[in-house]
């Protein structure tokens, strides 16, 4: 049914495609829907619930019915609208929601049970017996969904682009083009987007004239002018899908979908992304998004072959495809007369125009007369005959109240029923951002009202439906937007294009033709995808679901993939009819992004796979990799967890590392520790305020350990701070807490204590840091350092010295997290790798052994040192940790006041203790809960939990730390850890398992 000539298709490019396995042909420029129509295919899918036959209803984004799955395998795309799928050679599409085949769909039996499946039926059933609900649900679930998800990872890539502009124009129809031209000519930075493959909007699909020539020609030349302007960007195949706060507009550009799935590099692609999300920050937005033609609700109005009048015309005009042989037009307004004329021009025999009004407008009458089309006024379609597609339409007279006569006056044979129920301006984006709507009673539609944002609507989106008005409002919106964006220049004045003035007669408020048969409205569909009928709406109201939001949720009206673009307003109208309240009072449901569905891959952009989250690497990272380290994620850092040698298990490797650190030399990459350079005369005051202990007496070159609490008194971070100069300190923090502590200190300084003269600089990354510990550490250090005295007197525990180590500029700290003599050597990061390899080479003779975080944790647990975040969880105070001596009584510090609250100062809080299992080989799982009186079955009263637990090679048995209620006074008590399948007995001990006197530390 392809017309011999005309249309915007490229007949020189013939494409082969398949639909449900059958081969067809189409042309470049076709959509899948157009090509199917050209091939005479009418049945394309099944509805969601009742599996009724579905055809093609529209020619654009609003399509509720023609839902298809395109391609198979990893590139498959479910739930596409055939009306938006551009044809390419080799395209293969299938129907969704039909099994085993579209023609013989098993689930169409649902249709027989339709009377049993009214809105919300599942809330009333499937409850007995309770035990069977699972099985019921399994069946319900099997019926769920439309298309199928791919089974393999996506072969395509996606990305994002930020874009800033003065004026963003959404929609490239006559209004949008006019707005963009006007704004662009002023020199403003303009972005024009349209979701179609070319600009022109409705002009591409109708035969309106501008300056005496086809409107589409004007659109082409307007697009050309725009393309030539500096600072104007025209994005086609690009949908504005969300309008967010402060004029942030999200676009999705489909860059390669029209080319089909990537097959090779030779298919004309640039290796770029399949789709791109543009994030536009616009000073001004012009919404020229046009309008969607809506349907009228009557019995069997869902049959394939029932179509929007404008869409029918569009198929003829734009795609040279005849959507039927013999058409009947059913309308309540003038716009369908042009469509009727276009159909007739295209060789469709138009049997009649059925107009619900007593009489059409003058222009409209003339159009019908010009084509010799019979106009039947005061009538409405009341039923459609034909199952898989329209065979005839019954019409009846409608009275003033909108009720059809009881018996049909006539049945007209036809295979196309083109319907126009009026137009809904596309107000979606306006509403996303909180814009209000007004109800235009004359045109029976919602139009944009007040908005808090710098946004204006033009053309059909503003409820202006005549072409001259669209152009005029577009020019005005473009000029105003540029001006409001602060552009001073005015565009060169030009002769405005002229379109014929139109004088339409008012539309009739007819949304629904109630069936005169009792129960007839079962089959009068409002939401074509979700099978919501007029009777469902009546039922919802009857049951009290009368708010528009309840109606939506009870019936699922407008909740399908088309989000009710053509059905919401008729639904509201029927609701208002049933309630006897005006539509404006009934209101709409909330418009939400996205305007049309948006690919998840595109939303994620590049932040997937290796880019999902940055991996932070220390200067020594690649050495660790080469050495075969197993890494642990600590925040964004990768830290070596342990370094297994050939064939070693984790336990073996860790035992070896632990023993080496206490018997030879252990080497740790400590570069990830947070480091904050603190300078300024009030530095010590800051330290006093944020640490629980006092800092006044710390000498230059000395270090001190400190605990920080939140204002709630709970431990927040810990670390060692060293005094470098009179007013100069270096604070270290935990690796994971570095950024948090830095911004927390800045926050206090800037917001609470601006009077303090202190400057903080993060130097975490400035310094690479190697920790060298163990009995051989000093010897190795002495060998390497040139000008730093390292003996216990010159550089005692908790002292720091600056100089050269192995010729590298270095700071050497005598601090220890292992209880061994330990040196932490900081060198500028560029030398981190050099330092590390020198240490490894020079230390070889002493048995130097690199160790990872697991060994680090065991060594410190042997000494009972805490890890903030492991022994603490936001509910633990310094006193709970047994560090009460570090809590100054004299000064105030952050969190101090909280410690004296009644609950925080209780004696029986959970306190840090050690645990020794009865069986020395038994390692308690970290996180095991502790009880003092085990019972055979839960529930059991828990008194605490294990925070850290390891096998310690140095102690020669398992050790654990735990937080136990009143733990400090329970030393020696026996407790139990009830675990799945067993119960472990343990004794509470002091949290110190190795060298309790600390002789090694100072040695």
């Amino acid at each position: 049914m392809r017309l011999a000539g005309g249309g915007r298709i490229d007949r020189s490019q013939l494409y082969a495609f398949t639909f449900n396995g059958t081969q067809y042909q189409g042309y470049a420029g076709d959509t899948l829907a157009a090509a199917l129509i050209a091939n005479g295919v009418r049945l394309v899918g099944r509805s969601f619930k009742l599996h009724r036959p579905r055809g093609i209803f529209s020619a654009g984004a609003e399509e509720p019915s023609a839902i298809v799955q395109v391609e198979a395998g990893a590139s498959t795309l479910p739930n596409l609208r055939a009306t938006q799928v551009e044809l390419y050679d080799g395209l293969s599409a299938t129907s969704v929601n039909a099994w085993p085949s579209l023609a013989f769909d098993f689930w169409s039996i649902n249709s027989l049970f339709a009377p049993l499946l009214p809105a919300g039926f599942y809330y009333k059933t499937f409850m007995w017996p309770q035990s069977l609900w699972h099985s019921y649900e399994a069946v319900i679930r099997r019926a769920a969904g439309l298309g199928r998800a791919p089974e393999h990872p996506d072969p395509d890539i996606y990305d994002h682009m930020h874009l800033h502009c003065d004026v963003l124009v959404v929609g490239g129809g006559p209004a949008g083009l006019a707005a963009a031209l006007k704004a662009g000519r002023t020199g403003a930075r303009v972005v024009l987007v349209d979701e179609q493959n070319e600009s022109g909007g409705q002009l591409l699909g109708n035969r309106q004239q501008i300056d005496g020539a086809p409107g589409a020609e004007w659109a082409t030349s307007a697009a050309e002018e725009l393309a030539a302007l500096d600072d104007v960007r025209v994005l086609t195949r690009t949908t504005a899908f969300g309008h967010y706060d402060h004029n942030h507009v999200a676009l999705i550009e489909r860059r390669t979908d029209h080319l089909g799935p990537a097959v090779s590099d030779a298919d004309g692609r640039d290796g770029g992304p399949r789709q791109r999300v543009w994030k536009v920050r616009a000073k001004q937005v012009v919404l020229a998004t046009g309008a969607h033609e809506r349907s009228i609700v009557f019995r069997n109005n869902d049959r394939p072959g029932v179509m929007q009048a404008s869409a029918a015309a569009c198929y003829v005009n734009r795609y040279a495809a005849r959507p039927g042989h013999r058409a009947v037009i059913f309308t309540n307004n003038d716009s369908a007369y042009a469509a009727a004329a276009d159909l007739a021009e295209g060789g469709v025999s138009v049997a009649a125009i059925v107009d619900a009004r007593p009489e059409p407008g003058l222009d409209a009458s003339a159009l019908a007369a010009g084509q010799g089309i019979e106009v039947i006024t005061g009538h409405a379609a009341v039923d459609v005959k034909g199952r898989r597609h329209v065979e005839a339409v019954s019409i009846a007279a409608v009275d003033e109240a909108g009720n059809a006569a009881a018996s049909a006056s006539r049945s007209i044979n036809c295979d196309l029923l083109a319907v126009s129920g009026g137009w809904n301006p596309c107000v979606h984006l306006h509403c996303h951002s909180g814009g209000k709507l007004n109800f235009d009673a004359v045109q029976a539609c919602f139009v944009p009202g007040e908005s808090k944002l710098a946004v204006r609507a033009a053309g059909a989106a503003a409820g202006i439906f005549d072409l001259a008005g669209c152009l005029e409002s577009g020019f005005e919106a473009g000029a105003d937007a540029a001006q409001d964006a602060g552009i001073k220049r005015r565009g060169r004045a030009r002769k405005a294009p002229v379109a014929d003035a139109e004088t339409p007669a008012p539309a009739r408020h007819l949304f629904h033709v109630p069936s005169s048969k009792r129960g007839g409205d079962y089959k009068a569909f409002v939401d074509l995808q979700h099978d919501v009928s007029a009777s469902d709406i009546a039922l919802a109201v009857r049951e009290g679901y009368e708010s528009v939001e309840h109606l939506k949720r009870y019936t699922t009206l407008g909740m399908a993939t088309d989000q009710g673009k053509t059905s919401n307003v008729p639904g509201l109208a029927i609701l208002s009819e049933v309630l006897g309240r005006p539509i404006a009072d009934v209101g709409t449901t909330t418009f939400r992004p996205p305007y049309t569905p948006v690919t998840f891959g595109a939303l994620a952009g590049r932040d997937v796979g290796t880019f999902a989250d940055p991996v932070r690497k220390t200067p020594m990272h690649h050495w660790h990799e080469t050495a075969g380290a197993v890494f642990e994620d600590v925040g964004q850092w990768k830290r070596p967890w342990y370094y297994p040698r050939d064939g070693e298990t984790m336990q073996e490797a860790v035992d070896r590392e632990c023993l080496a650190a206490r018997n030879a030399i252990g080497l740790l990459d400590a570069s990830t520790l947070g480091k904050i350079d603190i300078q300024g005369p009030d530095s010590v005051t800051l330290l006093n305020r944020v640490y629980t202990n006092a800092w006044n007496t710390l000498a230059i070159g000395r270090s001190r350990y400190g605990l920080m609490c939140g204002e709630d008194g709970m431990v927040f971070d810990d670390g060692v701070t060293t005094r470098l100069g009179d007013h100069h300190y270096l604070m270290t923090t935990t690796s994971g807490g570095a950024a948090r502590v830095m911004s927390w200190l800045e926050e206090w300084l800037q917001t609470e204590w601006p009077e303090l003269d202190v400057r903080l600089t993060s130097v975490t990354e400035q310094w690479a840091s190697a920790g060298i510990c163990g009995p051989g550490a000093r010897r190795l250090m002495e060998e390497l350092s040139e000008d730093i005295a390292l003996d216990a007197e010159a550089l005692p525990f908790m002292a720091m010295s600056e100089g050269r180590v192995a010729g590298l500029p270095a700071r050497v700290f005598r601090i220890s997290f292992s209880g061994e003599v330990s040196f932490e050597v900081n060198v500028p990061s560029r030398y981190g790798m050099a330092l590390w390899s020198i240490l490894m080479t020079a230390g070889e003779k002493y048995g130097i052994t690199p160790y990872g975080t697991e060994t680090l944790h065991i060594l410190r647990a042997e000494k009972g040192y805490i890890i903030a975040g492991q022994e603490t969880d936001g509910t633990v105070t310094p006193i709970d940790l047994g560090m009460g001596r570090m809590v100054s009584k004299k000064k105030d510090f952050i969190g101090k006041r909280s410690l004296s609250r009644s609950d925080t100062s209780r004696e029986d809080r959970k306190q840090l203790v050690g645990l020794l299992t009865e069986d020395e080989t038994e390692v308690l799982p970290e996180g095991a809960q502790i009880v003092s009186e085990p019972r055979p079955m839960p529930p059991m009263e828990m008194i605490g939990h294990v925070t850290s637990s390891y096998h310690s090679a140095n102690v020669g048995r398992s050790i654990a730390l735990a937080l136990i209620r009143s733990g400090h006074s329970r030393i020696g008590e026996q407790v139990f850890a009830p675990l799945p399948g067993k119960r472990v007995m343990a004794r509470i001990v002091e949290p110190m398992f190795f060298d309790p006197e600390g002789t090694r530390l100072h040695g």
Binding site: R606, V615, R616, Q679, G680, R830
Partner: protein, 214 residues
């Protein structure tokens, strides 16, 4: 002795020098990328309202510190002297050629000691990625929310922002001779450099990437 050991830049493991092309025809590729390793970077604090401080700094660097947000002062070519980037009210990043940082930091510290200056050498905390070409701006737009249109971000402009998931300081260099070609310097924390470089190469792929000697 230090010379015996290699200093390693943040991107050393990518072996960029080996990949660098000597071909100078910039218009051939959409984007060029390289590392300016070991640039001197000094964090400087002080009161822009104090004339003594501003003068003292100017004496050391040869140009007055910028006080307008998002701008820099000093020569585009670091060989010609230090360049200062505005970071915040009372905070700048002084950028020098490799090796000059120690001396510059010392001089700055001495010169501003009496007028409340604070100097911290952070040359090793970040590396600098150089990027330019016809599509350099497009690559940045993929990950940076700033308005980088030449009218909004002119040569000499600098800003701190996000690029992909990394915090960066962005500096726009003087325009290369050819039209439509821009040049940027991206300061990024050393530990994020591997991530950001990989990201940039990937994002620039569709435009054609050439590696240049830093």
């Amino acid at each position: 002795m230090a010379e015996r050991y290699q200093q390693q830049s943040a991107l050393a493991h990518f072996g960029l020098s080996a990949r660098a092309t000597s071909d100078q025809n910039e218009s051939e590729c959409g984007v060029w990328l390289g590392e300016h390793a070991f640039r001197g970077q000094i964090n400087l604090r002080g009161d822009p309202g104090k004339k003594t401080f501003m003068d003292a700094v100017a004496k050391v660097t040869g140009s007055r510190l910028p006080t307008k947000p998002n701008t820099s002062a000093g020569p585009d070519d670091p060989q010609a002297g230090p360049r200062a980037l505005w970071l915040a009210l009372g905070e700048w990043l002084v950028v020098t050629v490799p090796g000059a940082e120690e001396e510059t930091a010392r001089s700055l510290a001495e010169a501003t000691a009496d007028c409340g200056g604070t100097v911290t050498d952070v040359s090793d905390a970040r590396t600098v990625i150089a990027m330019g070409g016809r599509h350099a701006r497009d690559v940045l737009m993929k990950g940076c929310p700033l308005d980088l249109h030449p009218a909004a971000f002119e040569p000499g402009a600098c800003a701190q922002s996000l690029l992909a998931l990394a915090t960066v300081i962005l500096y726009r260099g003087a325009d290369p001779s050819e039209a439509d070609v821009s040049a940027f310097e991206i300061h990024v924390a050393r530990s994020f450099a591997d991530y950001l470089w990989t990201w940039l190469e990937d994002a620039a792929d569709e435009y054609g990437v050439r590696i240049i000697e830093g």
